[in-house]
């Protein structure tokens, strides 16, 4: 059970002067209960890739499959594919449409044909997952703060109980507190068996929380692997628009002057090593 992409190519406006190769030979895999992060600079093709994962866009060549179902235009399985893969767009709060939060949260389960007596518990559960209580159900989404709207938009996708959650820059514009709340929620969902695919340019989140990372550079896959492999790649190669997180950059700089230093993005690990060096555990 996984989302699998093989040798995906996508060109916008083929055959016109605006023709742009957005994705070129990109492959990835993410199972249920795994966290894959897709990183890359603005314009690297991250969002285009995300939109292939539940059939908003279709490949020119290559394949996308969800739990063995091919994502192709007019697939008889399209409904199951879209039910399995919940997509949270960039700035999802711009898509809130309902008169109250309850209606907003009922939309996905109603579409999936969930029995009406099960919808209210689903809505409530989705609200509590994003840290809001039932008092929000009767409120208009338009009268909420920016952070609350974002949470409602995410809850409306969770209410459909997707097996995979694809999120396009969900932390953009959130304060650090809300960002932490959101990454905690994603870690919990992953533990409970949801596959998480996070599109982000926050390498700090990607390195700390993912099982694997796909790095895109101008539509091509620059690297795909475990966070430690991606970190080694970034230390050795400069990728436009991507910066190592500060702790990783500091650790790489110390490593250049002292090869015994660990190459890490983990603050606690780097601190332990610095303190050991300081208290006389200095290596030759």
């Amino acid at each position: 059970m996984s989302i699998t992409v093989e040798a995906l190519c996508h060109t916008y406006h083929p055959g016109t002067p605006l023709e742009t190769r957005a994705l070129d030979d990109v492959s990835l895999q993410c199972g249920r209960g795994e966290w894959l992060s897709i990183v890359g600079h603005t314009g690297s093709g991250k969002s285009t890739l995300a939109q292939h994962l539940n059939g908003i866009l279709f490949p020119d060549s290559g394949t996308v499959s969800v739990d063995g179902m091919q994502v192709v235009e007019k697939s008889p399985n399209m409904r199951d594919i879209r039910r399995a893969v919940g997509l949270v767009f960039q700035y999802p709060e711009q898509q809130l449409f309902a008169e109250d939060v309850m209606e907003e949260l009922s939309f996905a389960p109603t579409n999936w044909g969930v029995q009406s007596d099960r919808i209210a518990p689903l809505a409530s559960a989705a609200l509590s997952m994003v840290g809001l209580d039932d008092s929000y159900l009767a409120r208009s989404p338009l009268n909420l703060s920016g952070g609350e709207k974002r949470k409602i938009a995410i809850a409306s996708v969770l209410a459909g109980e997707p097996s995979y959650l694809v999120l396009d820059e969900p932390t953009a514009g959130l304060d650090s507190w809300s960002r932490r709340e959101l990454t905690d929620l994603l870690a919990r969902l992953k533990k409970e068996g949801t596959g998480i695919i996070l599109v982000t340019h926050d390498l700090d989140i990607a390195l700390n929380l993912s099982d694997s990372i796909l790095m895109l550079d101008r539509g091509r896959s620059a690297a795909f692997g475990a966070p430690s492999e991606i970190m080694r790649y970034l230390v050795a190669n400069s990728v436009p628009g991507l910066r190592l997180p500060d702790i990783a950059a500091l650790s790489a700089a110390i490593g250049r002057s002292d090869p015994a230093a660990p190459l890490t993005w983990d603050r606690a690990e780097l601190k332990r090593w610095i303190k050991a060096r300081e208290t006389g555990g200095r290596r030759p």
């Binding site: 603005t42 009268n143 650090s176 507190w177 997180p245 303190k275």
Partner: protein
Amino acid sequence: MKTDARTVCELRDVTYVYPSGASGRAALSGVSLEVREGEWLALLGSNGSGKSTLARHLNALLIPTQGDCIVYGMSTRDPANVFAVRSAVSMVFQNPENQIVGTVVDEDAAFGPENQGLPPAEIESRVERALEAAGLLAKRAKPTYTLSGGEKQRLAVAGALAMDAPCLVLDEPTAMLDPRGRADLLAIMRALHDGGKTIVHITHRLEEILWCDRAVVLAGGRIEWEGGVEPLLRQDGALRKWGLDAPPLVALWRELGEETGLALPRIPTLEGMIDALCPLQ
């Protein structure tokens, strides 16, 4: 009453309640604050703390429900002052898409000075200086839709600079930018500060205030803390209480300072930390 010549803006016991606010709760309660000439002031707070509401008082977009806002000695309450206030204090907002009015880069930057009724030669020279400062001179003839998000935000800054206001208020200017766009914009803000501009920088990212002169923390519409950047970064529990997470490098700097005798920089910039922690090669 005349304010101190060194004060650019002053809030005196300002309370603000949004007229449409369903809750009737004050977005700002009893806020007093001075912005001093030439300083780079960080205005911090989590989502909903009242920092944008405060910023909108500084150029008379909002008028206090109670209390007063004084800009260069002029009360924003008097409609006769609004033009002069807005010529003294320029705003840059969060979303670059909402701030572009021109179809070509230099046309957009000229919008402000044209509205000020300046002679064409003066507009021309101001636009050139502003685009230069924002790193956009090479793109002056490009259509605005071809700019990246980061470039659009720099164009918004150029538009504000072209007004020649001595004070610039930026409301979360980096929130919608990628790391590259954010770094570019911060570099421009540093250069403007070095050139003597007064900057009020609203943000919830502590890594952006490392070069600021002073920081003010808002929570629940009140000022909770005011002081230098270094003492603010040394707070830990309090930062979390205000919804401000210390970035990992700041946390490492604080912890190493508390737990070791290492000589660390006064402010934890990456360059400073590398210098302090890498033995001479």
